[in-house]
Amino acid sequence: MSSLRPARKNAKPAPVPYVSTTNACKLCTPLGACLAFRGVEGAIPFLHGSQGCATYMRRYIISHFREPMDIASSSLGEKHAIYGGGPNLKQGLLNVLCKYNPQLITVATTCLTETIGDDVPRFVKEFQQEYAARGDATPLPPIVMVSSPSYQGTHMEGFHRAVRALVDQLAQAPASTAAVNLLPGLVSPADIRYLKEILGDFGLAGIILPDISETLDGPQEATYSKIPAGGTPLAQIAAMGGSQATIECGATLKGQDTAGQLLADRFGVKLFRIGLAIGLRETDLLFSLLEMLSGRETPRSHALERGRLLDAMVDGHKYVFGKRAVVYGEEDLVVGLTAFLAEIGVRPVLCASGGNTGRLKAAIAAVTADLLPEFPEVRGGVDFHDIAEEAQNLAPDLLIGHSKGYHLAKRWQIPLIRVGFPIHDRFGGQRLLHLGYRGAQQLLDRIINAILAKKQADSPIGYGYL
């Protein structure tokens, strides 16, 4: 069995400049935009493009969250591709307005409409004028637009651009408040719920954008909601310019024109940028920020969770020490996971992402520098073909990432610890907790148990104590 595991070799093959992509480790830009838009209260995501884009993304997202995910589409046909998609966009907006009665319509472009050169802001402006001229009783809700062609970046660029577009187009001249803006990045509904709990326990009024905690993990209800309840309220987005500070999560956002940067530039909101709060020290950073912003000490319940995490790290340290892990997924997630693995004594040997900001390596160095005896291979802009080739020589014991790496876990007969998005082959992906002391605790338990389960399964003895 163990012979299936790739052997460790010293000779590193020369990197081959691949042209083709095999089994991508990324998704397309508008999908990220739709996920972010789903986290706004009363919003309906709308894709300006052909029908397939919306349907494919819906299917992909539904398979992870197991929740309805309506994405409207302008459903362009051949003649629209030739003469422009304006009329369809306008008709689509009107139809969505009539049937969904949304508080907000969020339009993301696709590669088709960007390539044919559709001027979406102009179409929307015309639509608003035409609608006003109709004298309809229903007021037109705001329409937020984002440019998200899939040939630029990955779903993460789409996500961050959408968040920026929301702030750019909805935040208004502020009255100052003690609120804190929290831009969490793409994390799970469970993570967002936990962040809300933390902010509440510090007595902070938080504005979390986007907030998918209910919209993509909703309860059973007596009636069917066309647009699921929850999400960041529009009034809160409008008020973000008045908040005392913004905490923007994402270690590879450095130097980027993000929502946090915009709030700082336009409204003078102090910006703190931290990584995703994964593992001990990245979470400490978040909590120290919250202590500072709230003027309170970390509440006892959270201090206790930190203490229990440390206790568990001690209890479990020998199970994980020196285990070799391949980590893949979105760049910011990979940075956070790598930080935590380094803290518990796991050796990250390859950190890989389909994202290609060029900032992955520096971000990993910053969170692991004093912990790792040997710096891991770090590869941005790669697919699973590259990951497999690279890992082939690194003898990994563990894979940590989303469901799409399962084929490697199967081939090498090593455990895959499922994190992030998408989780298509397990139940409860929307409830996975990654962040904070509690998330680290759960991650630690899952990593150790995966190692123990494999040890037990591989052993002919059948130990009952491990």
């Binding site: 992509t21 095999t22 999908l31 397939g52 884009c53 494919y56 929740e67 630029q152 909601s225």
Partner: protein
């Protein structure tokens, strides 16, 4: 409550018995209506995807390839090249300067790496717009590498899924007729329109083997390029899923004179009739008698096992929304066999003729719908008080949020639903969902779940 049906869509919905039959269909999806349909690319991809020893390269930005990576349970008994997702992952500079060079290099690289028997190159939305000469690149690589490299004209916006089926058939037709037909039995068929989800085509192949008929090519479940090349040597095309591969059957009839029959392997009635139809075609008494024996043997096993499900499910209400209308017919019959009532039936790509026939076999009051959307579906499911909804992944959360049972009859199913054994699996799955205790706890059903707790000791404090 606001009406959920768009004015523009009112003629795409028919209520049996309310008016003479009339329905509009095969239209472009209404903008903003959240259609459950996909696109041309999707149609081509689902049809060609199961050809397991071909390279399937998606020429475009990453999304189209990413969302179709290994999404269907189309199994292969040998090579599994189809389960990998290949893309040229076009970037902005490719869009500006053209993607032909990247496509050429990607094709050469992948063919050298995987040695496929053929390559299909899928065009996506922007490829036509930026003007890449897909056919030219394919021709060049084909000459250099000595394998068929076939462009699939599947730009997403150029119609709906049906147009994609046609593009796929055009692509396959370039392979048909290029292989040797030596040694093919006069009692031979091609299986068209089965994608070997959960190993279904193996069940059907086994039936054909048992009645003495050779299967030349699987089109496309567990498909092989070499088989498709010699498919014109088969005596008959047996076509399931009328939309997906019918165009190929028609083209083969025209060029090679291969006749075809339309069949369905879902449900007892249709499965048996499919085999009988093929047997009748060959006019060989021994084939017919073997077919009769097979059906008898299978039913003798199946019927006793079905009874318990039938008893439990009798009178329950079912809704059906599927991609192609052909499947809806079989499902209606399958539900009848379980003594269940179908109250809603629809498809993404049905034709007027399909819907007319559906209306004929449905009970009064049944809603028949073309190219529907989540709002309509949720409204219909509530109105008709449905117990089980049969559809695909996108329909599942609608059912579940409404507290309605669900059966996945789409590409992601992992249990075979075709053949006689498939009927049993189907009954089991419907039973598993409908009979679950979870429904009774849902807020929709408005029942008091527990009596208030009463003290077991009164105590002395007031």
């Amino acid at each position: 409550m606001e009406p959920v049906i768009f004015e523009e869509r009112a003629d795409q919905i028919h209520r049996k018995g309310s008016a003479p039959f009339q329905i509009a269909c095969n239209k472009e999806s209404l903008a903003g209506a959240v259609s459950q349909r996909a696109c041309v690319f999707c149609g081509s991809r689902v049809v060609l995807y199961p050809i397991a020893d071909a390279l399937h390269l998606v020429h475009g930005p990453i999304g189209c390839a990413a969302y179709t990576w290994d999404i269907r349970g189309a199994l292969s008994s040998g090579p599994e090249l189809h389960r990998l997702s290949f893309s040229t992952d076009l970037q902005e500079k490719d869009v500006i300067f053209g993607g032909e060079e990247k496509l050429y290099r990607a094709l050469v690289e992948l063919i050298d790496r995987h040695h496929p028997e053929a390559a299909f190159v899928y065009s996506t939305c922007i490829v036509g717009i930026i003007g890449d000469d897909l056919a030219g690149v394919c021709k060049k690589v084909s000459e250099e590498k000595g394998i068929p490299v076939i462009p699939v004209q599947s730009e997403g916006f150029k119609g709906n899924k049906r147009a994609g089926y046609n593009a796929a058939c055009q692509a396959m037709f370039q392979l048909v007729g290029t292989g040797s037909t030596e040694g093919i039995s006069p009692y031979s068929v091609n299986i068209l329109g089965d994608f070997n989800l959960a190993g279904e085509i193996w069940i059907i192949q086994d039936y054909f083997r048992r009645i003495g008929i050779e299967v030349v090519a699987n089109i496309t479940g567990d498909g092989r390029v070499a088989d498709i090349r010699r498919a014109h040597g088969a005596a008959l095309n047996v076509v399931q899923c009328s939309g997906a591969t019918m165009d190929l059957a028609k083209m083969m009839q025209e060029r090679y004179g291969t006749p075809f029959v339309r069949v369905s392997y879902f449900g007892v009635e249709d499965m048996a009739e499919s085999l009988y139809e093929v047997a009748r075609f060959f006019k060989a008494p021994e084939i017919m008698s073997r077919t009769q024996n097979l059906v008898r043997e299978e039913l003798a096993v199946l019927y006793p096992q079905l009874q318990q499900y039938r008893r439990a499910l009798r009178g329950k209400k079912a809704a059906i929304y599927v991609g192609g209308a052909f499947k809806a017919f079989s499902l209606i019959k399958a539900f009848r066999l379980l003594e269940m009532q179908v109250v809603l039936v629809g498809s993404q790509t049905g034709t007027t003729e399909d819907y007319r026939e559906l209306a004929e076999i449905c009970d009064d009051g049944t809603i028949i719908v073309d190219d529907t959307n989540p709002l309509e579906l949720s409204s219909f499911l509530q109105e008709q008080e449905v117990d089980i909804f049969v559809g695909g992944v996108k329909e599942r959360p609608i059912a579940y949020k409404l507290g309605v049972g669900f059966c996945d009859h789409n590409h992601e199913r992992k249990e075979p639903l075709e053949g006689f054994v498939g009927m049993l699996n189907f009954a089991k799955e419907v039973y598993t969902s409908v009979m679950s205790p979870v429904w009774r706890f849902l807020p929709r059903h408005q029942q008091a779940l527990v009596q208030g707790a009463a003290p077991v000791a009164e105590g002395s404090k007031s």
